[in-house]
Symmetry: C2
Subunit: 465 residues, 2 copies
Amino acid sequence: MTDTTADFLGRLTAALPPGTVIPGPEAQDRYCHDWSGLAPVRPLAVVLPRSTEDVATCLRLCHASEMGVVPQGGLTGIAGGAQPVAGCIVLNLERMSAVEEVDTVMATMTVQAGTPLATVQAAAEEAGFAFMVDLGARGSCAIGGNISTNAGGNRVIRYGMAREHVLGLEFVLADGTVVRSLNKMLKNNAGYDLKQMLIGSEGTLGIITRAVLRLQAKPTSVSTALCRCADFEAVLSVLKGARKRLGPSLTAFEVMWPSFYDTMYGGLPQLRRPFGNGGGIHIIVEASGFDPGRDAERFEECLGALVEEGVVDDVIVAASERETRDIWAVRESVSEYGRVLGRIVAFDIGLPTTMIGDFVDAATRELAARWPDVRPLAYGHIGDSNLHLVVNVPSAGDHQPEHEIDDLVYGMAGGAGGTISAEHGIGLVKKPYLGRSRSEAELATMRRLKQALDPRGILNPGKVV
Amino acid sequence: MTDTTADFLGRLTAALPPGTVIPGPEAQDRYCHDWSGLAPVRPLAVVLPRSTEDVATCLRLCHASEMGVVPQGGLTGIAGGAQPVAGCIVLNLERMSAVEEVDTVMATMTVQAGTPLATVQAAAEEAGFAFMVDLGARGSCAIGGNISTNAGGNRVIRYGMAREHVLGLEFVLADGTVVRSLNKMLKNNAGYDLKQMLIGSEGTLGIITRAVLRLQAKPTSVSTALCRCADFEAVLSVLKGARKRLGPSLTAFEVMWPSFYDTMYGGLPQLRRPFGNGGGIHIIVEASGFDPGRDAERFEECLGALVEEGVVDDVIVAASERETRDIWAVRESVSEYGRVLGRIVAFDIGLPTTMIGDFVDAATRELAARWPDVRPLAYGHIGDSNLHLVVNVPSAGDHQPEHEIDDLVYGMAGGAGGTISAEHGIGLVKKPYLGRSRSEAELATMRRLKQALDPRGILNPGKVV
């Protein structure tokens, strides 16, 4: 640590309330890495603000000294967006965790950025509403991280990404300026909508400290089914038919290729398999409604028609909460990859929906040509054009050929007009590949924005752009 | 015209295809003003590009010569966003009007920016979908203008603003850089989502040339009713009850105070009045569904329950398309203000929903205290927190005390935590009042963005920020 760095940390510690700045060597290990699998990095210090003013004070000092700041929420990102950077400090918002207000007439909730997603969901439920951003890491991830990465999840097909659930934001710019834009109204065209710029920018343009969230009416019925189809063409027919018949009631459409489905059931014997080993592509279809006397019947009519049309081969409609949980269990078992596969290389690709079936086949073929024992697991939110692909080469053990696999898959996705990140973001891990799905003009415009709002490049340095 | 200006126009004319640049004195009058009511301004020239390349060429030359450019679509904006600026050129995209592609699997449409909204809607219908941005000027306004102003309209309560219907954009920056970001996927988190910055920036950050629009499944049933309520408290109960019972089927909730309703029926005798002269606040409630065998019944159950609860005093459910048109006719008669009222001062305020009733009463009182013969007409998209207020002082004739009325109403709206523009934008007309609903930190951040993307200030100069 140079004298200058020591001086800086001294000033920072003095400017903030006692206990806010934890020197790097004393910080808990958990601040040293996110879920990206990158090797831990110990920051110079971990700052744990309790208020927006603490965040502003910290950024003002960092800006003055050109000190890099890595913002952290629940650390569940897998693109390395919250991964510490050597020689920088970490600003973790976990102490700014509070539901400040639920407005039942406006159907909004005001929360601090460090609030866990599950806490937000529970507070919405308690007030008779629903917060419709949902993903597997709900218990650990923070709402500020969900917003700064524009999180997706299982119900995007009906409710959209995190962006569509944010009405207002308070954030702090790199120089410590607090921009308080806690709008509660559905419509506000008074000048530029600044929050849009912050959402999805992964902490590189400002640090989100508070948010006004949009709540939804809580559906009074939920119907869930597991369908089996012969091939991807049939899956597309099911999607089209379900959209036409269920309209906005269609709230999830999760597709699992045999590679995913059979591998996860094979590796996790505690899961109860709804069908026998019949092969085919499985789909979880969920509909949510507001007409409980009729919704279940309508859902079954829709599925019945799809069976009659010959696009669905087998279907099970959940008759209880337990059966619903059983249907979702395999889809939610993705946190068990370590146990089932060992080390993996994970993708979160977006592709025009019609091309996804061919892409899975082609990628599987190309990967196998290069690594004969490869296990590429395919599944995803196909209604949103989002394919998850998880790759493991058993013979490579702990040394997966990550870069080679990345090159192959991102090259194919870029060539097909897809995006290298549908929902997980760019962070550190995908930064080298951003040019595969963005043009030079797009990248240059992103850099202009970054330069305008963070001219000294202190916010999450080296990430995204 | 100085020599320099003449030289510039010569270069511009030479660089673009013949017939693209119309010298100002020869330009049709319609390019000299939008629907804001501001006095016409003749631009130096009107440029009518046929391609993105034409737009890029024009901007490159304007940037080099620091020539101001006012982008125009259908010229239907009422905030002056498309109003020419003296000494500047106008860039009207009316010749870039084409539906280039409808993708029925992705449910997207790719269009050129000058395409009229009604053309977009019709093309969507023809393909079996619906494009859900809708507003009174649909026959004249251009989709590029709808996007650059983040237009709202009648179905925001269910489908959101224009922003939520845009998946991709192609736009040209001030220096002529073409940013082609014609994404079709629902999810794309590959770096900053640049289109979000362009949407709603009223042509001050770039000029939109193409868009990929998101289409919706076309509902197979539409039910419409006119309700009469005693007061605003009852209106809020109807909104809450309709949301709970109809969920996402609730697609319009248009409230009309007696000041609007009685004045428009009184002034337009050709309109057929569904109820007698009973007073009260009227609401148009519309539900759209995908279960035609059941939807109408469910709609009537919902309204029946609201009558039984005593929050709705009278209700008429449209039994035919003709009755539906009759119910909407008065709400859509807003283009007839000239005939009914003469000159008006129009507001498009956003307020927390619960405060709207008191705001209407207070504004009416304050206006009457100052101008005893004032006619303040109130109506709006209350489910979206959006109140329209139209003010006319009969005794002032053609010289309405516009600034005094603006000061009074915007002062009240700002004081109540509202926005001075829910959907119409800022343009020229509302620019002096932007500080009433945005903080100095917000305004400074907007100016930073403007400076970053248009450092010479050539795009729609003097507008918004």
